[in-house]
């Protein structure tokens, strides 16, 4: 600690603090415009000038100057006040001062400082700027006339998002923020730039003229898209969520959000929301009352009894999942599952066998604390963009080494010194086994590894996975494999990340076990910055696993679908899932759901699945209910209602409760009560309560019992002359729900197929050409997107879209062999 004097107050601050940090720490406010604690010091605006006695009273910027022992600082001398006033006068000189029509009014740093420093009149006068305002972008409006050139937008886009969409352009008074060569904005649309803009230069266009800042009620909650578990503040007026509000102190991610988190909230108050229960009469769905709907469903479930089945989306709360299970138990069925059954297998089978627990022995916070990241599939960035930001910062600021094993290149491949090894699609488990083989053979394994159960079997099984043998089939060189293994084993701390979810059928229990083997072999478990992080797709995927909402004794999702088709499932209750679009093999799913006697769907929207139902129940969004979500790293967080329920919507908790009551059971009265039960029954959740979760949540402990498991590799039946289609998540989407968010749909409105430049030129395909993709299951028409990241012979398609559902041609194999035609 360093001792110093600020405004005649004796204070202490940590050694590497700046004057600004030290003052803030001790409750002394120094005004800032260009400084942001998340970004590197900049020192441009000159608002934070202070006087330092040791520097002969020179005015120096507090935000860039490190403190030294015995420093005597004055932050508000008459000279300083005068200097700050002058800075404001200068900034206001060309600023349009159009506060009455500026959406930033009330939340504008320039406005607030002008008020605070009583800049009543400007002694200077000059022409105003006349920059063209960019109204063209649907998400981000850019008005450079209001800009104070703090550079925060350009810096956050570079330092954290690592995209670099915005930059300074021109010089002197003509300096402005623009895209390179003044091109239109075409970026990740995470809105980080909007969030840090201190003035009204960058605005969220969907929120334009919706409400004055001070008229909003802010509700802190948790994002309902991916499993990162970002904290979110919703801005509400008149029972409508009008925007997301940036709060730099919120969450481990400090208020950073991705495109869907920041701009994808419109589904909450969407006009398309279901508002009344519907029942099928004479072949059409007509409005009904809740009483009638509950009555009909209860009767059907009772009749079906053990042949009732349930599929839930891992987007609903832990409490709802528990209650759903109870409902199923009430009718005597244990046929329930989520995420098509395979998307949670990495946790529920892989990690259970390898680590003895269905959870990841690592946290997102480890990303910045490790020495080396081994990322499986570049899609890690697309599925969990805010974890992607953590990777960006780890690599760029902490010099963490980044090794990527992927079937294509991606955003992460562009990070400094990132090493991307491109393997033939579907061979990742073989490669990982080869890594384990190298670690064992080269004596890179931890001393304790040999005593872990299953070592001998693993060692024997690995014999087939020599780097040379694997290299031949996976498209890497043996040297690559050896280097990757050595890098991982020799790093003091190393963390493995891999995404799982509906579009990654290959990321199954075997991949999870193969990766766990590496961590166990090298002793990289249970230490800070080490472990394996299984990044489940949805906001409560880990919660659904923790709550045990998957088949253990009964039918799993695949069997449930088969049961619908064969008649062994009589009544199917689907809460929030949209299998018709999101599960592989569309034809099979649609036929099965058509066949089942009685189908109930509770959802926010009339999804393709809901449209087939006999009863449709209008469910609440996350913004209308209370409960908990569990993130991929088992952070349990409390969500609270931001608005009153829309129309006649009921939360799934209420729906399941009403059905249990109807069936003669006694459901828990409130989510809080259910959570009490969870905390006493679910491993790791002990001692938690809504009160103890607070704003940032609490981690459920993960204790590991490692053993080696021999992972099965996929059989690679490549078909000559065909292309390998791999599916995944688009950066702007999550599941099928983001289709109801305006932001994601503005940026990425439809499905596409990405192909390499070589393949495109060979087949004479141009960007945006409609191409027909044909597999053994059928064919669909998609727009072609030509990119540098795809290896020759490999295609990529996102799976989110109803109209162009890739699941019409995919059947759940890790790789689908297809042909392309125009």
């Amino acid at each position: 600690m360093v001792n110093l004097t600020i405004d005649d107050k004796q204070v202490t601050a940590p050694k590497n603090a700046t004057i600004y940090d030290a003052a803030k720490l001790n409750g002394i406010k120094i005004p800032i415009l260009c400084h942001d604690s998340k970004l590197k010091p900049f020192g441009a605006c000159r608002m934070c000038l202070v006087e330092v006695e040791q520097m002969k009273g020179r005015q120096i910027p507090a935000c860039t100057t490190p403190i030294t022992e015995g420093m005597i600082i004055r932050t508000a001398t008459p000279d300083i006040i005068k200097a700050r006033k002058m800075v404001l006068e200068l900034l206001l000189l060309n600023h349009p001062i159009d506060c009455p029509v500026c959406d930033k009014a009330g939340d504008c740093d320039l406005q607030n400082l002008t008020y605070e420093y009583e800049v009543n009149a400007n002694r200077f006068a000059d022409a105003k700027f006349n920059h063209v305002i960019d109204y063209n972008n649907p998400l981000i409006e850019r008005d450079m006339n209001r800009c104070v050139l703090c550079g925060k937008c350009a810096r956050i886009c570079d330092e954290i998002v690592s995209f670099g969409a915005l930059t300074f352009m021109d010089r002197g008074i003509e300096t402005k923020i623009a895209c390179e060569f003044e091109a239109p904005l075409n970026c990740e649309f995470c809105g980080s730039c909007v969030s840090v803009c201190p003035v009204g230069s960058l605005l969220a266009r969907p929120f334009k003229f919706k409400a004055r800042f001070w008229a909003l009620t802010n509700q802190k909650t948790v994002c309902s898209y991916c499993g990162t578990g970002c904290n979110l503040t919703l801005g509400v007026k008149d029972n409508k969520v009008l925007t997301t509000v940036y709060d730099e102190n919120q969450g481990f991610h400090k208020g950073q959000l991705c495109c869907r988190g920041r701009f994808g909230y419109q589904f909450i108050n969407s006009e398309r929301r279901l508002t009344t229960p519907l029942v099928r009469k004479n072949g059409t769905l007509v409005e009904t009352t809740w009483d009638e709907a509950i009555e009909v469903i209860a009767a059907k479930m009772k009749t079906a009894g053990a042949s009732t089945a349930a599929l839930a989306t891992p987007r609903i709360t832990n409490e709802e999942l528990i209650l759903f299970k109870e409902l199923m138990e009430t009718v005597g069925s244990n046929n329930y599952d989520h995420s098509a059954g395979y998307a949670h297998a990495a946790l529920t089978k892989g990690f259970v066998q390898s680590l003895g627990v269905a959870a990841s022995p690592a946290s997102i916070l480890d990303v910045q604390k490790t020495d080396l990241l081994l990322v499986i599939k570049t899609d890690t960035y697309e599925t969990h963009p805010v974890v992607g930001f953590e990777i960006n910062m780890a690599v760029k600021n902490k010099e963490v080494k980044l090794n990527i094993l992927s079937d294509k290149r991606g955003k992460l491949s562009k990070l400094p010194n990132a090493k991307t090894l491109i393997h033939v699609p579907g061979t990742e488990i073989a490669v990982i086994n080869a890594l384990a083989k190298v670690i064992v053979d080269e004596k890179l394994a931890d001393g304790t590894a040999a005593s872990v159960p299953g070592f001998a079997e693993l060692e024997k099984a690995l014999a087939a996975f020599t780097p040379d043998a694997v290299a031949a089939q996976c498209g890497l060189t043996a040297a690559d494999i050896k280097q990757l293994a050595t890098d991982y084993a020799k790093a003091e701390k190393a963390l493995i990340l891999f995404p799982v979810g509906l579009p990654y059928p290959g990321h199954n229990e075997d991949l999870a076990s193969a990766l766990a083997n590496l961590a166990i072999l090298t002793g990289k478990l249970g230490k800070e910055g080490c472990g394996v992080l299984c990044m489940a797709e949805k906001n409560n995927s880990q919660g659904a696993v923790d709550m045990g909402f998957y088949s253990t004794a009964g039918m799993d999702a695949g069997k449930i679908i088969d049961g619908c088709a064969s008649g062994s499932v009589k009544t199917l209750f689907i809460a929030g899932e949209n299998p018709v679009v999101s599960y592989p093999d569309h034809t099979k799913i649609a036929a099965a759901l058509d066949k089942v006697d009685f189908l109930v769907v509770a959802d926010l929207f009339m999804t393709e699945t809901a449209a087939m139902a006999d009863v449709v129940l209008p469910a609440c969004s996350f913004a209308e209910k209370e409960g908990t979500f569990t993130s991929v790293d088992r952070r349990v967080q409390h969500i609270k209602p931001a608005i009153r329920k829309i129309g006649q919507c009921r939360s799934d908790f209420e729906i399941f409760g009403a059905l249990i009551t109807k069936l003669g059971g006694k459901p828990s009265a409130t989510p809080a009560k259910t959570f009490e039960a969870i905390s006493s029954s679910v491993a790791g959740y002990a001692g938690m309560s809504y009160a103890s979760l607070g704003e940032t949540g609490a981690y459920a402990a993960v204790s590991v019992k490692p053993s080696f498991v021999v992972p099965k590799t996929m059989s690679l039946a490549s078909e000559s002359g065909k292309l390998a289609l791999v599916t995944g998540s688009a950066l702007y989407h999550s599941g099928t729900m983001s289709q109801y968010g305006e932001g994601p749909m503005y940026v990425c409105p439809e499905g596409y197929v990405e192909l390499s430049r070589n393949d495109a030129s060979k087949m004479k395909i141009a960007e945006n050409d409609l191409v027909i993709v044909t597999s053994s299951k059928g064919s669909i028409k998609l727009k072609a997107k030509i990119s540098m990241r795809m290896p020759q012979g490999v295609l990529f398609a996102p799976y989110h879209f109803s109209e162009t559902s890739i699941n019409r041609i995919c059947s759940g194999a890790p790789v689908t062999w297809v042909s392309l035609s125009k």
Partner: protein
Amino acid sequence: MTQILLRQDHTGQCLSFGQYCDAGGFEALRTALGGMSPNDVQQAVIDSGLRGRGGAGFPTGKKWSFVPRNLPGPRYLICNCDEMEPGTYKDRVLLEQNPHILIEGMALTCYALGVEHAFIFVRRGYEQAAANLRTAIGAAKQAGFLGSDILGSGFSLQLDIHQSAGRYICGEETALINALEGIRANPRVKPPFPAVKGLWGQPTVVNNVETLANIPAIIAHGPTWWKGLAATPEAAGTKLFCISGHVRNTECFELPLGTPLGKIIDGPCGGMRPGSTFKACIPGGASTPYFTREHWGVAMDFDPVAKAGSRLGTGGIIVFDQNTCMVAATLNLTRFYARESCGWCTPCREGLPFLVHTLEKIEQGLGTESDPDILREHVHALNYAFCALAPGAMGPVEGLLRLFEDELREHITKGRCPFGD
């Protein structure tokens, strides 16, 4: 009068490599590599009292001593040849005549600092200088003065020329480093200083062309001899003065550091042009406050000039005669700085155009009584801008307010420029 940089017999022509060697060129490098340790070289430079010739006048040896020797990775030397200050053209004259001396100077400096890769950052417009340097580097490489294992000493040096896209701000050493890295030429936050974290995050020294060109003489003849070349005991070495304005000879002269201003103008400059009498001058490039007749006797050395209220800067002297309107002259210079502001920090980006606007108003006879005070306030504010180039931009305005306030006020009270027709 000894000259070590310029050769009177070679005005306007480039010395060939052979001619340079015949005149004792690269002997200093031989001496250093033959028996001096890197520390000896650095010590000689410290002892010589050499101060940076790029404008700031920081002691060169001291700057070198800030480079940590224990950090892993390479260190870099960058020669700053982004000469863009109005009135300054000494580096161009020197390089068009003798590029070899810079190469030898850089080789010696790199040896002293343990640098194996150095860059010459050449201003866009200096095509001839860059061409000369390219030829000279080729010749030096062939003769074994550059490349690997120079003269069998085990010391290797790669020397590269970077012709910049060019901007005045590139003269600021951290902005220059940014430009060399290929990113926007904005100054960097200090600390960390370039000596610790410069080019590509590695320890880096940035020195001016003239500074580096003095090193061979210091090593060849010893620091005491070199120091003695100056006109006063306090000064050290010679200095290139580049003259422009209303004098007879507008050339670049190498003169003993500390030569009085009057002696320069009356001597090598040949006095004022016929019909002209001396009114004022800029003593050290466009960013330095004016000198008037009262400064005639000031020794042109860093400290005496600073004591007299200006800066020696680059040694670019611009002489004005009695018909020069100082408001117009200041406006001209301020326009340059407003245009060249990098746009980073508020006082410089917003303040300079406003000053231009105000000075224009005054020059047009539309000034108001409060204008001088507003100018004064900006001069004060720009002292606390992000980089040193902003206070520099205020040099002329500061000089105008201090020395020519009457003339300024005359514009305002008369409602017109007193020099106009």
